[in-house]
Symmetry: C2
Subunit: 222 residues, 2 copies
DNA sequence: TCCTTATTGCGACTGATGTTGCGTTAAGAT
DNA sequence: ATCTTAACGCAACATCAGTCGCAATAAGGA
């Protein structure tokens, strides 16, 4: 990761700067190149999936030389990692349907639609995570962010009395969504429109049964 | 797939054979080459993961020429598909611990141990499924076989009264195992020794609640 | 044993991928 | 305006993946 990572300090110190720290030039041309390249990545990805995404194709479509892309992003994984980081500052919120099972079903529906229709962006990013450690890291950050935002789903369910207190939001969310990813991505099963609802219902039932509450008794010790 | 697939007929017909069907030579040298190559694939895979598995490396380690590997297996995906098919005729049986949750936990434990320790064989095969359609097909066959063998877990649970009748064995199995794959393979979370048991408990609780029984009432019609 | 030919070995070739050295452009500070 | 040098463009180079034509080997049947 040598793109971005601009330190916010060492701007006006003048004298006491580290001689081994070159000042980045992030304005003007560099910013324009970056924007062109990231746009080209997105366009090529929706056009031809992961397999159509080569460094050469990106450079050509961005109107930039191959070497520039190699030096700044190293490989396709680095490109996707940058795209993912740049697109993660969106305003996504989990759905609020009024019930735990409804929220989880709606979440699964989003996952289902992102994965069911052919070679989509999501599948390409996940596939990239198996090739590039940079893309894998960006994916982990992306998912961590999504899980943090989804914690409110569990909180609301606890308030409604649908779940025992102190239920593990992450485990519940994984239980609900993992079957959808597993069926469509790993097992490559034929898309079943009932899958989102059924996986959500399973996770919700397990949650109601207290599987994701670490302690079922009233004594938190031991 | 042009390796194996030896037709069992047209052995002694003599006169009426198809002129466009060349007789395969599966004995002696060809069999030895195949064994050497598949062994080399396994050794390289446990040594360096998927990224260390190139056709050239396989050929060199097997003491075989590159062209031979390209002609018989086409690419790395074809190699892995053949390895997977050759290794699938084992005598694997699902565990029988006496309870549904115990069986699912033991299954998840196997998955966990196959995925938790570094870049294992399983992860390499799954990663290959994202690159080669041949490897993806072999993986689908492998998983279908495993799921069929695991149906007995659900049957036994129904007999014991732990599950309602006509529970969907596949959906239950996916609900139990998917979180393990998802955490370790996609989310790349730190291995949690409690994960197999917890995921199994969640699926078992959902199963007990009747989520995987299509009809809860006693009337199977409509 | 001999004959046919499937299969393998060999080397040359093409194209894609990734690297390096060097000259040019322009960002940012003075 | 001027200077320093980070970032870019360019071309040559190196490496790897994959294919093709041809000769050598050996499997399987007569």
């Amino acid at each position: 990761m040598d793109a971005d990572a601009e330190a916010s300090e060492e701007t006006g110190h003048g004298e006491g700067r580290d001689p081994a720290a070159p000042r980045r030039r992030t304005g003007g041309r560099s910013a324009r190149v970056r924007a062109q390249v990231l746009a080209a990545v997105g366009e090529l990805l929706v056009a031809g999936g992961y397999d159509g995404l080569t460094v050469d194709a990106v450079a050509e479509r961005a109107g930039v030389h191959r070497t520039t892309v190699y030096r700044r992003w190293r490989d396709v994984g680095g490109l996707l990692a940058d795209v993912l980081d740049a697109a993660s500052d969106d305003t996504w919120r989990p759905p609020d349907t009024g019930s735990l099972e409804g929220d989880l079903t709606a979440l699964n529906q989003e996952v289902y639609e992102a994965l069911a229709g052919g070679p989509g962006l999501t599948a390409a990013l996940i596939a990239a995570g198996f090739r590039s450690s940079e893309a894998a890291g960006a994916l982990s950050r992306f998912w961590e962010d999504r899980h943090a935002r989804c914690a409110v789903v569990t909180d609301r369910a606890v308030e409604r009395g649908e779940l025992p207190a102190a239920s593990d939001a992450r485990a519940l969310l994984v239980a609900a969504t993992a079957p959808v990813y597993h069926e469509l991505l790993l097992l490559r099963a034929a898309p079943d429109p009932e899958l989102p609802r059924r996986a959500a219902a399973g996770a919700a039932a397990a949650g109601r049964a207290g599987v994701y509450a670490p302690l079922t008794g009233p004594f938190p010790s031991a």
